[in-house]
Point group: C3
Chain length 345, copies 3
């Protein structure tokens, strides 16, 4: 977990974890899920402050439940709605609509809570700037307590942990098995945090990953470098394909996810033009039969039914999406125990 | 409590309870209210996820407090505001503004929580379709944990339980006593879930119920059949009157409530035309003096002062509305103990 | 703490506390902060209902954490957003957009909770009416449980308590030391509740207070009388100055805060004209060096960076704003223990 300005451990990117750290975390999550460990007081008197600059169902609920199950408490804040609108730029003369600077918010929440979690999606301005993930990075810098990334511009590491646990559960030993990260059509250009994190999760388990997407939908080169590095460390591999059906054929897992073309980032109409003829990039029932015998379909949710994945797949036996969502709870319990629980001391 | 697709007990409609089940629940609520039972750990490690597609004060607060008082925790979600906007239609191609299907939401919340509660008001489109209460029914179908109805198109059963407890408290033995469910004017055509549930509550206690409303404000025929059936089971009776003052005269209870004319459902201007000359359907101080000696006035709240009920009545000794609201807390504590507490095993 | 219509203690104004009561409360807060007292079960089974008619970050989080740390629970309500829009006028015919009267809300929440806290900012209509603080006063009148003011038109007493604790911590013995309450420019005319409360806090500790503001920015005469009275009781003093730099020079504390001109209350364009040439009323780094050797800068937050206070001051060693915000937590823990905790019996 990343060292920051303060002597504390943040959790901003799953790729920051050493393989042994990740393995220990997932083992703990599995034991918590099976009820082998309860640790009902492991977070007693502990507070997690969660800040959502963007909406959430699973993240919010699973963290709130995780804190509760171990005797702690989560506070949920939504700046601009239930609290003051936040300014995220440094050095700005705050003469506009934002009322509170992230510097004060991060410092103050660090005084009230034992850890602070932040969700901050990209704003769709300019990729060169946004890719620096400054809101998350600055927040972690200003806050003197551990900061947890609830999905930033570049990463969704708690989703990545849940994905890794799901791969382990279903495949027992994922090493050397085939995973396809499948780009899907969607009415909007979505962020790349989840596909980058899902790719890291798959290769962190030593899987052979194919990222299947139409030309123009390349992930950020820096993300590709990270995925490659994690693959090398874990004995996995990564390759790119523009042929969807060929990639799916025989895959043990297909992770379906839509994302926008970074080359058109911030220009939605250009992006829509590139995307408009790709509605066939969809997980249909026919395609689901091309997976390996025990092959299954993942998605981080929320999913657009019959746009990204068809009803027949989501309501059928190959869908692992609900298990995957449930695993958010268990990996986050493990994460919280490691960061601020009795195990952290 | 209704059997659903899964081997679990939902609480969707008070009329699904056998008289003995209802009686046991209300007895428990009364004991909890009097503090004769504490059961402080009866919901330890238990989570209730509450989903509000529509606003709430009493429901949200009373359930959150109920969970806390017994060691549990309630998570509050508001799709479209603090979480993703929900799609409720089956088989739809999700190419529009909704982001998450109720199928996924219900399944996922069922993994995080021990019970899931849902508020879903009618949308004012078409009564033939809406009367099927599909959002609630589908949600209960998809969710593998007990589902609690926090007010749907057709029912508000937790309000019904609170109403029944209030009648018992004030009348000791409500059997054979007179209750008038009084239609009141209101600037908007409100749903019929509360009047249907209040009627069920009154007859479930063996009361002789008069539903007093202007012509055109009949409840759904299927609701009338249910009210009749519950009345028969409990030794009560139900009749309709169009004469307000005659109905109130000598009543032991007047339950004031406004609702819209179902014949004009989804056509607010037609409905407004029917309603416009009925401002006199209001609980005035003069009318409150026509009740029996110990007679009292109920309302589910929120109430429009001086439109539905006059200040002098609400601030006077005949108003039972605050006790009625308080009873939400106690019946829900009993309900939760029965559904997911130590009593449920 | 004020006696209300019911035999209960509210906390509406810090100036209602006798010096000995205030001193005891701040002593308890300091011990709780240092961890000398834990009192982990002092609020077991206790509920605080918090009602925000306006946004909040610190207030909401610190009260929610305060309840949790002592075994209690806070419910957060936001009428008009997550619950029904409230009517605050007496005797009104509720034929408009408000759905629930404050009378019912206050009475009902008093049944669900052991204390009820309310935030209700001025609405910017007419000072003659608004200065009566009727929403808070009426709410406290209707509610049968202790009511806590989370910032009303006239007072922010929990901020005042935190300010007093911060002065004690930093100055050890604040008596006879110099505090400047400095008016600052801001793009909007803000309420006077915080400056009035900060002034009360400073003189309650026996400080010699200078309120430095441009002509036209006088506080309400009734607030000045209260500040004078508290100063007399505590051996402090208060004076007004229109010369900013002279006031700051040698001050032990400068409390920076913006507020609107009451003479133009409800007429924002007139007020803006008066304010427009006063952008130099800002805490710059140069000004911060004019304080006494150990002098420090306070602000209630949220603060407009580089409008009210410059980055260099907020990010430098003289800023006490984060400590001040943290102290909200500890004074409120003490307040809750006194009002509804084991100490209250």
């Amino acid at each position: 977990m990343t060292a920051a300005a303060h002597p504390k451990r943040d959790f901003l990117d799953m790729a920051d974890l050493a393989p042994s750290e990740l393995s220990r975390l997932l083992d703990l999550a599995a034991r918590l899920k099976r009820g082998e460990q309860k640790r009902r007081d492991a977070l007693a008197q502990k507070v997690l402050a969660m800040v959502f600059l963007d909406p959430s169902l699973r993240t919010r609920t699973s963290f709130e439940v995780a804190m509760f199950l171990h005797g702690g408490h989560a506070v949920v804040l939504e700046p601009g709605r239930t609290s003051w609108a936040w300014e995220t730029q440094k050095g700005v003369v705050m003469d506009g609509t934002t009322v509170e600077h992230i510097a004060e918010a991060a410092r103050v929440l660090g005084r009230y809570a034992d850890a602070v979690a932040l969700r901050a999606f990209p704003k769709g301005s300019d990729w060169t700037t946004e890719r620096e993930d400054r809101v998350l990075r600055d927040f972690a810098h200003y806050c003197e307590k551990p900061v947890i990334n609830l999905e930033s511009v570049r990463r969704h590491p708690c989703q990545g942990l849940a994905d890794a646990l799901t791969l382990r559960e279903r495949l027992h030993d994922p090493k050397g098995r085939r995973c396809t990260l499948m780009w899907a059509y969607h009415p909007k250009p979505l962020p790349t945090a989840v596909p980058a994190s899902a790719a890291i999760a798959a290769v962190s388990q030593g899987m052979n990953l194919t990222i299947a997407h139409p030309p123009g939908y390349e992930l950020d080169p820096d993300d590709m470098t990270t995925i490659q590095r994690v693959a090398s460390d874990s004995g996995g591999s990564v390759e790119i394909s523009h042929k969807l059906d060929e990639s799916i054929d025989g895959s043990d897992v297909v992770y379906v996810k839509s994302w926008g073309a970074l080359r058109h980032f911030g220009r939605p109409s250009d992006e829509a033009a590139l995307r408009s003829d790709k509605r066939d990039w969809r997980m249909t029932e026919a395609r689901s039969h091309k997976l390996s015998d025990q092959g299954f379909v993942m998605h981080c949710l929320p999913v657009r039914r019959n746009i990204e994945i068809d009803d027949a797949v989501l309501d059928g036996p190959r869908a692992a999406v609900v298990d995957e969502a449930e695993n958010r709870l268990h990996v986050q319990r493990a994460l919280l125990l490691e960061l601020i629980g009795e195990l952290s001391q």
